[in-house]
Subunit: 456 residues, 4 copies
């Protein structure tokens, strides 16, 4: 659907999508590295520096790319692929300066200008600007949530775990940073446990920070590690307030996921429960109750109800297309519509409905008003007549046979009962629609009556 100008990339282009997904992988690294480098500045000028520079380069390339990506206009739903419009839109939005600021490698720039690495805290905090990139992860998740190829449950679950892990990691790093900058090392949460912690391994420190962070988040609070000085207490107050919100967020999300997954089961239980109650209060015989239950369970399995809803929402032309595909072949093979014009058939099929019937269920009941007639698509039904309260089997129908057309064409109460022998699919045509359509096509009407009389 989306043809764009030369040198412009459609946002739905497969290759651009892959590039975006690749960038999200780099975002995960940035999300981990930014707080980590704040807490342990040694690594930011050491082992992680080249990795950081490469990652920054990729995001730099993306900034340039963005000037060539078409966008969807929000009011007309049309794709804008004009170079100038794209450029103006990006350059004047908030995103552009933030993207730039989160990509510049401040420390390396400083080093180039001054010839040496700075040890000041400022670069650690400037590094945190890279967390702006997290918006990409957030966008990815909200796109995946709408993508039915993936389970909503697991996408949402992953998102929750990512948010939680990032929260724990960031809080842990910040807490370590506070301890590392306190004057008296013994008076810190970690220093009171491990003497001379600053010269120990980076991983030991990171590890203790994570442990404290998670004990606090999970509100377990064993008490073996706890804030010792005022700065730590202030930070812990903030972190705990945030945790109350995060916990509520996790629980709220979990609730909606569980509600979603339990909905269908509950609807089925409810339907069955109502049938049973109705049968009990009206003292219906066991046979009728069984039929009702079998129908209910089949309906939920074949999700027939939902299919009706699907069709209702579609425009008429698509509905006609579907009906043609499903029923035209079947109806044109029945004896009644032999030689009927295609016009008539096309009009008929758009009013037909497919229904599943479980085994041993009455489709038509003797003596009832003829409101519909049926064509058997698959399965098997038998035609019965009830005389002196004794049922007699008259015939068995095979796919392609019609049921109930005698009542409809002669406008008399149905002369026979029709009952399924096993799971059967039948196509239903309403008496009312049939009459309406046939009346407008006199020639076809005659042919149908001829076919009918011949068949009798």
């Amino acid at each position: 659907y989306f043809d764009v100008k030369k040198f412009v990339i459609a946002p739905f282009d497969r290759r651009y999508r892959i590039w975006q997904t690749f960038l999200v992988v780099l975002v995960v690294y940035s999300a981990w590295a930014s707080p980590f480098e704040l807490a342990f500045p040694k690594v930011s000028t050491g082992s992680l520096m080249p990795v950081d520079l490469i990652v920054d380069a990729f995001f730099g390339i993306d900034i340039i790319l963005t000037f060539f990506v078409a966008y969807l206009d929000k009011s007309t739903y049309l794709l804008v692929d004009d170079h100038k419009k794209i450029a103006i839109r990006y350059a004047t939005s908030l995103w552009f300066p933030m993207d730039i600021a989160s990509t510049l490698p401040f420390q390396s720039i400083y080093k180039i200008f001054h010839g040496k690495s700075a040890r000041g805290q400022v670069f650690g905090f400037l590094n945190l600007l890279r967390l702006w990139r997290l918006r990409r992860a957030s966008e990815l998740f909200s796109r995946l949530e709408k993508d039915t190829r993936f389970s909503y449950f697991w996408i949402r679950y992953c998102k929750l775990i990512c948010v939680t892990l990032f929260g724990v990691h960031a809080a842990g790093c910040l807490f370590y940073w506070i301890a590392a900058h306190h004057k008296v090392a013994e008076d810190t949460w970690i220093g009171s446990q491990i003497s001379d912690f600053e010269n120990r391994s980076i991983w030991l420190g990171y590890f203790y920070a994570m442990y404290w962070s998670i004990v606090t988040l999970a509100t377990v609070g064993y008490g073996d590690l706890h804030p010792m000085n005022d700065t730590e207490k202030v930070f812990t107050i903030g972190y705990m307030l945030f945790n109350i919100g995060l916990n509520a967020y996790i629980i709220g999300n979990m609730t909606i996921l569980i509600v979603q997954s339990a909905m269908r089961t509950l609807a089925l239980r409810d339907a069955i429960h109502q049938v049973l109650k109705y049968a009990r209060t009206n003292r219906l015989p066991e046979g009728l109750k069984e039929q009702m239950l079998a129908h209910m369970q089949l309906k939920f399995k074949t999700a027939e109800l939902q299919q009706e809803e699907v069709l209702e929402d579609l425009p008429k032309a698509i509905r006609s297309g579907i009906a043609n595909h499903l029923f035209l072949k079947i109806i044109s093979k029945t004896y009644l519509f032999e030689n009927a014009s295609e016009d008539l058939l096309v009009q008929l099929v758009s009013e037909m409905r497919a229904e599943y019937f479980p085994p041993k269920v009455d489709v038509i009941l003797q003596n009832e008003m003829p409101t519909d007639f049926y064509i058997l698509v698959s399965g098997a039904v038998e035609v019965l007549t009830i005389k002196n309260r004794v049922e007699q089997t008259l015939s068995k129908s095979k796919p392609g046979d019609m049921q109930g057309e005698i009542g409809v064409l002669l406008n008399i109460p149905q002369p026979f009962t029709v009952r399924t022998k096993r799971l059967s699919q039948l196509v239903r045509i309403s008496h009312h629609h049939f009459k309406e359509i046939v009346q407008s096509q006199k020639d076809d009407g005659k042919k149908i009556m001829e076919n009918f009389i011949k068949h009798l």
Copy 2:
């Protein structure tokens, strides 16, 4: 409904169901024993060994059985009972190798080949493969959830408790295993409390492990037991992250259960509240308000509303069957339909509706348009006329009597008011449907008018 070939078992066979339920009992044992034997390897080669072998044997039998169990095809909803198809389906699925791997008694096999029990950790972990059997418990629960014979609330509640207990048990055993394999016994969570814990009773250790596990899960965290070394801290981090999810899962499930159970009460409250509000804002007299409230409460008790919905979803033939059962006897005994043909009656009943009326409520109001007439099924009503604003009781009706048929047949405003004397069930026939049906049966129409004139 389900006839299958010889030597093939239907999945819905009662005996197969019992066998499956019996296996779930063994699954409970496996779920408990697998982590326990990892933590306390002595028992796995000692007292629990014969039990394990017997349990494994049962699951071995089930693997063989599965080759003879028919399955339901997911696209046609038909039972497949072809031996070859069943075998291919099972053997090529992931389940088969997993079932085998979770059944082989590795330790005994090793013993047979090497002549002695191995003390390596590998068998403890191989034992954990048996947890694959938990899928059976999960299947049982999801089947029970759909079974209306059991309360959804309690099934779900049991599931929650089982999941929680298994989580606590598994975490406790794993935590003990970590302590038992740490070099310095004093530097473990249990060793710092109980000296020489490894040579104490198995149950003391299990017991401490469970206590620590549950204190952490419930996020109480007294602090009397807490992780001491790095391995324990890592494991605790993982367990706490899992606990956040488990707690959210428990709360989410509880929420949906409570919402389900409160729904009906809230709907009733809402309905009553709206009636009261309507009566207040329109300043309706007390009598009318009482009638409205009585009707509302009765409706919720008899759940009349839901019955309509039950019928709507059913195919026409079942609906007709129900109507015949409920109303044919009543209508054939009324004076109006004496000698009427069964055809007419069958058509009439399919359009009838049963309604409950609380005591002292007007069923028909003098001078209103005749839209329906009624047959009294149970209870008692009185016929009133209002002259000069004074009500006069004309007659009392007994079950089987008709109300409102004068207005309908003569097409004049209802000449009388009909009011219930106590809780009454009436069957309603719509004027519109009555006219439509009688017009198509001229003979019956004459008979009905004769009956009517005779009765006057």
Copy 3:
């Protein structure tokens, strides 16, 4: 409604209700005293003994009373007041033996037979049988929840608080009982803090028990009090598992309460939001948008929508009664229906609907098809005509005047626009129903046309 036999009490009798509510007050005492007397057996043979005996006496009286209380049959919804049936139903149910067992004062009976108080634990546990009385509190709450005179929110809130407080109290008492029966007093949760705690004041012990109980329930777990020996640990495991469930129950209940209270606000927001969006995407002029918003907000205030739903669910006779009350007086005073027969008016009112219109809103639009006409009930409207795109005010209507009847009676497009001047209530009569009703009453039709021509 409920007349019962002599010496039989209706369950809805006001005096019986008061007695039941009084018993619930005693239940509160029992719920507190039973666990308390288990923990502190001194009080059960001391100061609380007479109170217990009096309370038991009251419940004994209730057992006798229950033999005289009619009950509602669950299948017929009729009140059964037959002495024999009532007695058989109560005596054969589970309730009777449980009521007896929870009322007998075992300790006093023992004393009478043996001449001295027993100090055995068995009486403390027999006392716990009295907790069976809690079912009365549970019944009261479920009745109150359905009673619209009380706020659902607060009833449910009280229930939650009661359940929580009882849980805390019972767990605290049980925990104290465990400590008091441990061999080494110093090795208990309380003995390690307070030496010789058993000979201290009862209230000090109760108070520590409550503190520990609540610290554990709230999952705060400071760690100043924690289980010391194995029995305490087992009990704490059980209590914490229970707490996980209780916390989830509290949160689940709170969620449903909040959802309930936020529903209405969210529905209003949603409606306004949709109007704004519709107006924006279709670029509607400001005037139309204002009219749409004003209408939406008024509708939510007057809850007009819900009123329609209230009426729909009611049987026809009640609906007619309401319509007569609301509209008969208004319509009989209009010029058009002067001298019209009451029959006609009664039929007309049952098809009338009251509507509120905000100020400056068009009720009828010039040139539109005449589908309805209106009677002004309160407020003020003006009649306008638009010529050459200029609006001219023709007249102002006062309550009792009709609008739009010219278009309806002559079956021509509405000649005038009708616009409200301030908040107005109008009664709407549908063209279709009006024609239908008037056609069946020829005489009235003539009179109406005469009135109409005279008025022109």
Copy 4:
């Protein structure tokens, strides 16, 4: 809309709203200062005294103002601006004495009468009366929640944070007050950590109180600070019970916010999922499936469904106004309605509906019954004919062209297929309504047929 008498302020007056919002800012100060002054009485007679007096003065002014603010009568929805009624309503309500009591500066009054500041606790508690002002904040939030200009999520979120912060602050201050009034300073929660805490800095004390408060609220409970004496334990019991409720409240609110925000995504997923399932079970060709999906996604983007619902709820005159605005211009430019009377057009537009169609979707299908015809508003469609199963493009339509009118006017099956070329908006006119309207306007009918024949 709201004109009020002289010297009376409308409650919706912009300036009055600003004044109210300004007072809420002062309420925030009062909410913070009242508990703070209780805990640290030094500041209440010192640095904060002048601020308190100024704030009190503002609230004093508001009391006087309230006597001049009109109110909305709850039963008539009319604004009451009678001086006497306003004064009586305010003076006789509970609010008046509470407003007075929460405004009087008791301490300053005492000082004026006795010449010196009192140091008694009573003034600290009298100060707490100022918390009555919090009702203003509560009112502001419930008004903002209904205001669609602000995001419901963030308003509710702010409210939660404010409630939580106030709870933490008040509990912390009260807890400090308890410690400060305990006889033995070492036996208090703070005294056991900081010796001589009463003479230390106010901020240190406040800060410890906040830390303890939040550790308890978040149920972390490290155990470094915990209640030491009985009074503190009692207070902590109460605070923890309150916290259980507050936590449940936070989680419940979060759940509803998340449910709200996820609703739309879930509805879209559900719709797509059903389409896919329907296509799969019926083995529809890929082309039809694509058309269905494209339509579904477009519908969610243009929110067409909701627009229909918006219109349904509005009164007829507003609906007509909208239809005139949207469609009158378009229809009057089509060849078919040239020279047609404005009456006819006005009636037609009220039955027209706008629909969006995605690219390459069939609007009309050859041979289907003519139920609607269309006018192209924007986009482009092509007219096709299918002969011998080969599609032939006949013509391309531009905005303003009609589709399907041939079938409708001649009452024959549609002769052509109409398919969109890109995203198109079409206006649909139902065959049924068109016939009905044209039949009542004979002259216009002739003109339309003339136009039609001329065009052919």
